[in-house]
């Protein structure tokens, strides 16, 4: 069964690109344009991995991550932050919340795909 990946970003072109890349790697892809949609999908679909932007209206990426990682049934979901926030403190905050990876934008697509494949192969 194909692994499920949830992509969360409020920028339509990034969302479009990530959707394409994940599908091409053979995953089942869901997309969310804001925090609320993301939380609903996490609850309903329980994906294997979430690609998460930080800066979004309503609920931000940190909020979603901590929701996942503090919930016993959800915390097995792998979280990868994809953010334009490049400060070390922001990165540390994300990892402290339990995220598996923190990747800064812009990113190289091949690298990203490799890292996600590796994470999901564990």
């Amino acid at each position: 069964m194909a692994r499920k990946v949830l992509v969360v970003d409020d920028d339509p072109y990034i969302l479009m690109s990530l959707e394409f890349l994940m599908k091409k790697s053979g995953y089942e892809v869901m997309v969310a344009r804001n925090g609320k949609e993301a939380l609903t999908l996490v609850d309903q679909e329980v994906p294997d991995l979430v690609l998460l932007d930080i800066m979004m209206p309503d609920v931000d990426g940190y909020g979603i991550c901590s929701y996942i990682k503090t919930n016993n049934t959800l915390k097995k979901i792998k979280v990868v932050f994809l953010s334009a926030k490049t400060k070390e403190a922001d990165k540390q905050k994300g990892l402290d919340l339990g995220a598996e990876l923190y990747i800064t934008k812009p990113f190289a697509t091949k690298e990203l795909v490799k890292k996600i494949d590796a994470l999901l192969a564990e």
Binding site: Y13, I14, P57, A84, K87, T104
Partner: protein, 915 residues
């Protein structure tokens, strides 16, 4: 119109005397209360209001009764007595301030002390000033006693009738004088230190000032509004009476000439400084030098108030008692009594009594300090055995001397009041006293501004003035009292007509006071100046004259180096001080002074500063001249040469100036440091803002860069994707590249506007056309979102001077925002353009979700959206409003938003006329 008085109306004598004693008891009570409070650490006299009220001791029974009397014969001339002090307060305050400062610096306790200290701490001149003051002022005190006696008669015997005068020596006045002397001794002569403030006494004097003001104004209101129909009614009726008409006028030949006006005003200007009682309250009893400034307008206000009703009362008296049976000096009291207003009469009587007693009290204290310090003490201290007498005994002796001199002065005054004074009116005696103290003016004013004024000059001037004063004013009054033959008046001394007392050296045409003042001050000043120029000053004189003339330069926080060379032993000095101040107080004063100035006390040899301080302390008790002798008696002093002294003085002046300079420099330095610190803080803050801005910019750039890179890589790595999807990515690539370059140019624009590099390219622009152009450029977008656009503009807005390109930018920004935020279903945008006087106003309104008031300011910040991620984030650089604001401000205009949540937004900006 009241009829002439036939029956005398008066009150029970016993009752009146009882009220007088009751009033005196209240005075005692107030004085005790003030001293009681002071012991508890709270001074009730330490404020400018009480100080100003105490200055009002100037208003004596002369003011109270005599002004009306004087007005009855001389019209408004009585005002000179009050105009003088007012001018002094208004124009010559610095002079009074300087005297005050000198007295504080040198612990001077009387005018005699002041003059003596200025002219080398000389004994003789102090004695001359003292004797002259006593001679000149005692009649004035007598006058007050006479006023008390006379008002007693009016209220208790005869209702003011001229005949029927009570002349027995031992009447109630005698007992009242006795009680007053007890009061003065109790509150004025208890401490031997004359420089100490008389707390209770000053409080009582201030209270008396209130009483006399209230009483006089009450009399005025009763007469003016009770008996008559206001001021105009009295004046109108009086003007119909032939013989009163001249009192309205101000002309030559009616007893008042312009020269007399000038002379009397000048006399009063001097009196306010040189009358012993004024010197006492203004200088000796002053607690805080700053009080003088406030008193300088409060005191004239007091004088003004107490004089408002003088003329109405005078005219009313003349109209009511038109047969002349009542003395005008008693009108104030006689009128209410005539109308059976006994309670009011009693109040007025008490008011007059308070005016008289306050004067007697302060004047007597001032004179007794002079007598004891300058006549009695020098005699006592020259006796060889005084030091062996023991300290208690000496202090007791000084106190006894002071008490005795109080009694002597009052007895003298009482005697005078029962003899000579019976013949004269209140005002004439007062003016003679004024003329006496005026003789001190040249020596004092010269003394504080003219360094060369010498002791011999001052002596010559004062003696000369005194002799002429005596000859031209006292001799005539003695002849009229029948004490000496009146032949001298008509024929002159030794039958020399040039020496007629009222026409000295053939000068005629002046009234007696003006005449006397002219000659006495002329000879006084001339003698002072000429003798000063031709005599040499002693070292002590040079020193003192420097200290007086340059008081502000030499008296600072850094006490100047005392000019004293010699050997003094601390135990000797302390012993000397203890004799006058007591062991305990001496110890306390010396050690606190030494502590304050960091002077070691373990040395047996006294520091020169301690010697100088001791001398100042002693001055407060025994006068500066005696203090000088005392200090030199316990030390071996070396006589300084004049140029040595001058050198030292110059040096200390330089040191003080240097110190002032240094203090100024250090202040400037502190200020500069503060400014630097502030500037640094601002820079740091700016730096932080810059960092923040850069971070935000790079962050904003990352987002489009991310999608560009991702999409480009996808298209590059996947040549096989279908054409439609490929097209999607390529469109995205173009859009994101556009967004990126837009962002970059916005950032650059903003930077240019903020740094001020952008110059306005001004031209006359038709804003209406510009608005339409901008609106048309959005036509497609508006249609796409089906937003209705309304344009409400007065087509006739004049071409407006502004930068067309920049305003175009603002309009684009505002309109694109409005399109973004307008209601998604029924979008509506209204544009308005209107001219309001000196500015045009552009409004862009949408019907979207609105903005909470808390954010109205913040939205104009750079990247406001980026910092507030919880808000709905429409596309855009986040710089539009910041840029718009900058552009509008460059045009000196304003931009703001009016909005509430869910009610749409109104963005408004204004453009004023630019020259």
């Amino acid at each position: 119109m009241p009829s002439p008085c036939d029956v005398a109306k008066y009150m029970n004598e016993v009752f009146v005397v009882f009220c007088v004693f009751l009033y005196l008891a209240i005075l005692f009570g107030i004085a005790y209360y003030a001293e009681f409070k002071l012991k508890r650490g709270k001074s009730i006299i330490n404020n400018p209001y009480v100080y100003a009220l105490s200055l009002a001791v100037y208003c004596t029974a002369w003011t109270y009764y005599g002004s009306v009397g004087r007005a009855a014969t001389h019209g408004i001339e009585f005002l000179t007595t009050y105009i003088g002090p007012t001018i002094m307060c208004a124009l010559f305050l610095p002079m009074v301030g300087k005297i005050l400062r000198i007295c504080k610096a040198q612990q001077l306790t009387s005018l005699a002390d002041f003059i003596s200290a200025r002219y080398g701490k000389n004994f003789t001149i102090a004695i001359v000033v003292t004797v002259f003051s006593v001679l000149g002022i005692t009649p004035y005190i007598a006058l007050q006693l006479k006023a008390i006696g006379k008002s007693m008669e009016v209220i208790a015997f005869n209702g003011g009738h001229v005949n029927n005068v009570n002349t027995s020596i031992f009447d109630s006045t005698f007992f009242i004088a006795g009680i007053i002397s007890v009061f003065i001794i109790l509150f004025g002569a208890r401490s031997v230190d004359a420089s100490e403030k008389h707390e209770g006494l000053v409080a009582a004097i201030a209270f008396e000032s209130i009483v006399k003001l209230v009483a006089f104004v009450a009399a005025g209101i009763f007469v003016t509004y009770g008996l008559f129909d206001g001021f105009s009614d009295i004046f109108l009726r009086a003007s119909r009476v032939e013989e009163l008409r001249h009192l309205f006028q101000f002309e030559l030949g009616t007893g008042t000439s312009y020269t007399s006006w000038m002379a009397l005003t000048f006399l009063a200007m001097l009196a306010i400084v040189f009358l012993p009682r004024q010197f006492q309250v203004t200088v000796v009893e002053n607690i805080n030098e700053n009080h003088l400034r406030k008193a300088a307008w409060l005191f004239p206000l007091y004088l003004f108030t107490i004089n408002i009703f003088v003329l109405p009362i005078m005219f009313a008296g003349k109209l009511i008692f038109d047969n002349g049976a009542v003395d005008a000096d008693t009108f104030v009291l006689a009128i209410p009594l005539y109308f059976n207003e006994h309670l009011l009469g009693l109040l007025i009587f008490i008011g007059g009594f308070s005016a008289a007693t306050s004067m007697i009290i302060v004047e007597t204290i001032a004179l007794s300090t002079m007598i004891s310090n300058h006549i009695a003490l020098p005699v006592l201290l020259s006796a060889k055995n005084f030091k062996t007498a023991g300290e208690d005994k000496l202090i007791r002796t000084i106190r006894t001397i002071r008490q005795a001199s109080i009694l002597v002065i009052l007895m003298l005054a009482f005697y005078y009041s029962k003899t000579v004074a019976q013949q004269a009116t209140l005002v004439s005696i007062g003016l003679i006293s004024f003329a006496a103290v005026a003789q001190f003016a040249p020596s004092v004013f010269g003394g504080i501004y003219w360094r060369e004024g010498s002791q011999k000059g001052a002596m010559a001037g004062i003696c000369m003035g005194a002799v002429i004063w005596f000859y031209t004013l006292v001799i005539p009054s003695m002849t009229s009292a029948g004490m000496i033959s009146s032949k001298i008046m008509n024929e002159g001394l030794f039958h020399i007509t040039m020496l007629k007392p009222y026409e000295l050296f053939g000068l005629t045409g002046l009234d007696s006071i003006t005449h006397s003042l002219f000659w006495s001050l002329l000879f006084n000043t001339a003698a002072y100046a000429v003798v000063s120029l031709y005599t040499k000053q002693s070292v002590q004189e040079v020193y003192q004259s420097e200290l007086f003339v340059n008081i502000y330069k030499l008296d600072g926080p850094d006490l100047h180096r005392p000019v004293w060379r010699g050997i003094a032993y601390l135990p000797d000095l302390k012993g000397l001080l203890a004799t006058f101040l007591g062991e305990e107080r001496t110890q306390k004063l010396i050690s606190s002074y030494a502590h304050r100035h960091k002077i070691p006390l373990d040395d047996k040899h006294a520091d020169p500063r301690i010697v100088a301080f001791s001398e100042r302390l002693l001055s407060g008790v025994i006068g500066s001249a005696s203090a000088r002798i005392m200090v030199s008696s316990v030390s071996k002093e070396e006589e300084l040469k004049i140029d040595e002294l001058l050198n030292i003085l110059r040096e200390s002046q330089q040191i003080i100036e240097l110190n002032k300079e240094l203090r100024k420099k250090s202040l400037e330095l502190t200020r500069a440091t503060d400014e630097l610190r502030r500037a640094n803080a601002i820079l740091k803050n700016l730096d932080l803002q810059k960092d923040e801005f850069l971070y935000t910019v790079t962050h904003e750039l990352r987002t489009p860069l991310t999608s560009i890179r991702a999409m480009a890589e996808i298209v590059h790595d996947n040549p096989d994707i279908d054409i439609e999807q490929r097209q999607h990515f390529l469109t995205g690539l173009i859009k994101e590249t556009e967004r990126l370059s837009h962002l970059i140019s916005q950032v650059l624009n903003l930077e240019r506007y903020e740094s001020g590099k952008q110059q306005l390219n001004l031209s006359y622009v038709n804003l209406y056309t510009l608005l339409i152009t901008v609106a048309e450029s959005f036509e497609m977008l508006l249609n796409e979102k089906s937003i209705k656009l309304e344009l409400d503009a007065q087509g006739n807005v004049a071409p407006w001077r502004c930068d067309e390109d920049l305003i175009h930018q603002v309009l684009v920004n505002l309109l694109s925002n409005a399109i973004k935020f307008a209601d998604a279903e029924n979008g509506r945008i209204a544009l308005a353009l209107e001219q309001k006087q000196e500015e045009v106003r552009v409004v862009v309104e949408d019907n979207g979700k609105g903005i909470a008031p808390a954010l109205h300011q913040l939205i104009f910040d750079k990247f406001f959206q980026a910092h507030n991620q919880t808000l709905k984030k429409p596309e855009g650089s986040g710089l539009g409003l910041a840029i718009s604001k900058k552009i509008v401000e460059m045009h000196n205009g304003k931009i703001w938003v009016e909005s509430e949540v869910d009610k749409g937004c109104r963005f408004i900006f204004t453009l004023p006329i630019i020259e």
